[in-house]
Symmetry: C2
Subunit: 699 residues, 2 copies
Amino acid sequence: MKHIFSIILVFTLSVIQAQSVKSPSSALEVNFKLVNNGQPSYTVNFNGKPVVLESTLGIKLKERTALDSNFEIITSKSATFNESWKPVLGQKAIIENQYNELTIALNQKVTNVKMNIIFKVYNEGVAFRYEFPKQEKLNYFIISDEVSQFNLTEDYKAFWIPGDFDSNEYVYNETKLSSIDNTKLNLNNGIGVKSIPGKYTVQAPLMMKSASGLYVNIFEAAVVNYPVMHLNVDGVNFKLSSQLVPNAIGDKAYLQAPCVSPWRTIMISNDARDIVGSSMILNLNEPCKLDDVSYIKPMKYVGIWWEMHVGLSTWDYAGSQNAQNISSKELLPSGKHGATTANTKRYIDFAAKNGFDGVLVEGWNVGWEDWVGNWKEEVFDFTTPYPDFNLAEVTAYAKEKNVKMIMHHETSGSVANYERHLDRAFDLMKKYDYPAVKSGYVGKIIPRGEFHDGQTMVNHFNFVARRAADYKLMINSHESSRPTGYSRTYPNYIAAEAARGNEFNAWSNGNPPSHETILPFTRQLGGPMDYTPGIFEIKMSYYDKNKTEQVHTTLAKQLALYVTMYSPLQMAADLPESYEKRMDAFQFIKDVALDWDDTKILEAEPGDYLTIARKTKGKQTWFLGAITDENARKTEITLDFLNKGQKYKAIIYEDAKDADWKNNPMAYKIRIVEVTNKSKLNLVMAPGGGTAISFEPIK
Amino acid sequence: MKHIFSIILVFTLSVIQAQSVKSPSSALEVNFKLVNNGQPSYTVNFNGKPVVLESTLGIKLKERTALDSNFEIITSKSATFNESWKPVLGQKAIIENQYNELTIALNQKVTNVKMNIIFKVYNEGVAFRYEFPKQEKLNYFIISDEVSQFNLTEDYKAFWIPGDFDSNEYVYNETKLSSIDNTKLNLNNGIGVKSIPGKYTVQAPLMMKSASGLYVNIFEAAVVNYPVMHLNVDGVNFKLSSQLVPNAIGDKAYLQAPCVSPWRTIMISNDARDIVGSSMILNLNEPCKLDDVSYIKPMKYVGIWWEMHVGLSTWDYAGSQNAQNISSKELLPSGKHGATTANTKRYIDFAAKNGFDGVLVEGWNVGWEDWVGNWKEEVFDFTTPYPDFNLAEVTAYAKEKNVKMIMHHETSGSVANYERHLDRAFDLMKKYDYPAVKSGYVGKIIPRGEFHDGQTMVNHFNFVARRAADYKLMINSHESSRPTGYSRTYPNYIAAEAARGNEFNAWSNGNPPSHETILPFTRQLGGPMDYTPGIFEIKMSYYDKNKTEQVHTTLAKQLALYVTMYSPLQMAADLPESYEKRMDAFQFIKDVALDWDDTKILEAEPGDYLTIARKTKGKQTWFLGAITDENARKTEITLDFLNKGQKYKAIIYEDAKDADWKNNPMAYKIRIVEVTNKSKLNLVMAPGGGTAISFEPIK
């Protein structure tokens, strides 16, 4: 499967000393030049107007001359690409990859070190990277800093989270660039490990909007053997610059030529839908490197998980998080352990009855009795179950019921320990026929001094995906660095969390109603997110009268998220009993597809609303999800995406009239209408609400 | 095999508030008291005279009150132990473990943190450790420093090497404590990675001798989950203090109560033989934790190794150490690769013909084309052979010849990478029936910022031994931290290098003639050393006329080292052709045993000479090794260790009359005499020379 599918490939090489390049549509234009003392720089125009002003580029090296000046241009070459490829799983059956490329080959006069800067210009954005060709004067080198500038023209409104080296699980702030200030944030937000380097550092993807309605998004693609890039913000001059995440001793990246940096991306459009719908990040990654992708399949799953979040049971068999070095054989059961054989069978029964693919079980293995917050190295061995979880019995039962078990590997951030046990852990998965694993990285990283977003950890996350591919296993990483399209190359890296997921609603200040309207413009550009939607019992007071926490959406919006939050791995996160009480609404979760032939972004405004329609892979059914933020919303949707001449039964799951995310979140109604591609539908959403629709062809 | 063997066990518990404890012989006495503001301190007397003056003890913690003052004594308890145990392999069949113990239980008044200090006093030395019992006030903690003092009474002569955090491969310096100064050393010594923290830091074991002839040795035992301890020297006041090796961010140790520090040891005797012959370091370690030790067997081996050191062949298939990221499939053979199938068969033939157990092959696997000096993470995968090394063919051939292959894992210091591949590497060894592996750690450590001697690496070395035990494999680590007796607990950790081995003689200023008379007083106290003796072709000019390097001993001394340098894993390091030219001398290497019923230290003076006799395990044969430093030496040895009434054929391998390590090192002679336990033998050793004797009972 190394070569997926190619419809058209046009390759034009121009040896003219061009130093500018336009998008295929010509709307975007990049100009490169050397400024000052041979310093690389670029500008970006959109429809003839500047969006990125002169911005310099450079790489600082440890104990060597910085690659940021004294350059001369050796050659500059341009080329045109137009190809298509088929993702193994995706939002579309075929992805277009069309761009114009400009390669500037540079020589640093004082050192004779060669460095190339490559631009790719798509219709929806610009990408550039540094390339270090094989050469005599540069073999091994250490990057002490990257100085890539993104100098904007005005004080954009930004959707930002702090540039934390260890966590991306933040609520988005919506302010002007000039008002960004990490010290003004409420950090009592449920995040365990925080490493915020400064007042004005934010994370990419940084979604922005100008006063005139221009959408700009700065991100990166193909972060491989390189740290994550955060962004330093000069809010006075609207200048952004790269902030690479350091390692334990302050170095940023260890490289050997020939090699490349990740792509730095600047998406630009007058239409927010172009950004949500972009495949640019995926396109900038290498094609699939797996020969066999037959085992990579979408999965809808339930699991022993939310019941721990709401306090009904515990991950820990012994009910204590402070076992103080006692042997796991001495643990005394608390009676509250969630991951028991009996409880797992209950979930398997529920999954089988409702046509789910898988069951996740967290807390099945020894270690949870003393696992977090202490930088402990040897926490889990990933192979030893608690005494009340019978692996053989559970997996035999699942097999009998035609349900797959999903493995869980919490590492507690002790990556050194995880890597030591990885082969054994994967062997166990194969022995018991687990097709996928959810991994977790809650806690300070070991090797100590490393951050979740440094080169070491980026390499770890990518390594686990590659190693899992050896075993034909799928990976879903939580608390990892955020994806940048590596799932194109290793599609068995099926999903990741890597942002503030639904779980925060159970025990923290949660995720505000706008949260899910922003993620598709930020986190989700890099790949599928395991957001774990589908919470029906919205208020935690249901479980404990003293609790005030709640999910910040209506129930109907939880359904809509299955369409708006793309992932081929989707959890129905709530308890079986929550679904059994509302089987009519649960029907949507049972029906909704996970893999798609086509995706239509119908409406999009970051922080406000999003409406997406998708066609099931290989079938004629469509699904639509529409969500809004804290404001109620009415909209009329034209169904022209449906097949011409075909009648559909549309089942509409929507907020009841009096619904409201805060005061009446669980009020929904379901109506069924017959529609064609000429129909229009009025969608009415409550504050924090949403609408989910399935379209089934009528035969 | 968890419980080995116990002849006598006497346990006496005294609840008297004793704060002093004596050795079983009463010659040594330790006194404990709290001084100043509740600061723990101790003194040591030998035969009533002070050897260690008042020395304070304490542990500094990160972000917590230091555990170095404000203590009160809760209880102090003394006890007497006398037991014996049988090592799996060893210098003696039965090891006596006899000591008196004093446990001081302390409470820190201001914090209520409990800490115990435990002393064990043996006839030949004192040991103490810190113990952190399970308690409410101390669970996880980070040691930022240990402040254990060893305040001596005078300006001892010391045999010292610099307190390098990354290497112990130094030549010993022999100066007064007051003259220790790392900045005055010649560091052009063949050592690749050096991290010397300061002018006055030296390594333990530190062997010393007073003007009056008192021998004092400071070391440690049972370094488990703790960094290596070096020693800071105050040469003006003759005060030594602990210097723990830091991690990447400056912390020393991450611990969780209940736990203990390693033992700090002070051996003291008027007779240097008591120190060389001591089993104290082994005794201070935990008993064997392996159930099955059947696979732990001594091995005498040859290998494809010295031919690379002398420049006849290369580890690298491609003959270049700078392949710059090219795929291993693109490598072009240089024709100089040592680890070929054909060459390996030649060594197997030689091993089989001469009764050797094993053949080591270095350079068999992909990675050597670009492996060292660049802090490269992914160097070796430990499973992919070069195209000219056929694993299946080689191992089948070895099996046919009844020879075992010894695996080689050079890590290039990239421990993160090694741990990731360890299970696969061991699986390969089992598949091809390799019983043992020599591992190497040449280069700066990855995780980057860690040192060879930090807690992370100590844990790594111990982890590899434990993981190897899962596979029933033996480990021989090179460039590791030096052993501190862990081979008692995991006897499959059969040997280590961890000091300046014979190899330095091939390509550096080498090891002076005194070197091998010091190692048994230092490095070898902690466990067997894979020194790789047996070089017959002493001068490198034999291989290349321009070379001036040479082994700094006579040939006869190379033979004697098989007895004086204890190891159950012994290499005959020279080339088969070097032995084939001198089969008469080679006979000693063929004959000499590797595992012993008994060991007699006949003569010992650090830096000058050493004479040891050992009885073969389970047989009546004895072997004797005598070595001298740069000075010629004559000595008369009484053979009263031999069995009474038994006649022996003694084959004496000795320096020829005109032999001299520098000018005539390869001149040896062999004579045979008949002896009994009443005989005396005159040994005559050349400068840098030695004598090796085998005693075969005459039937």
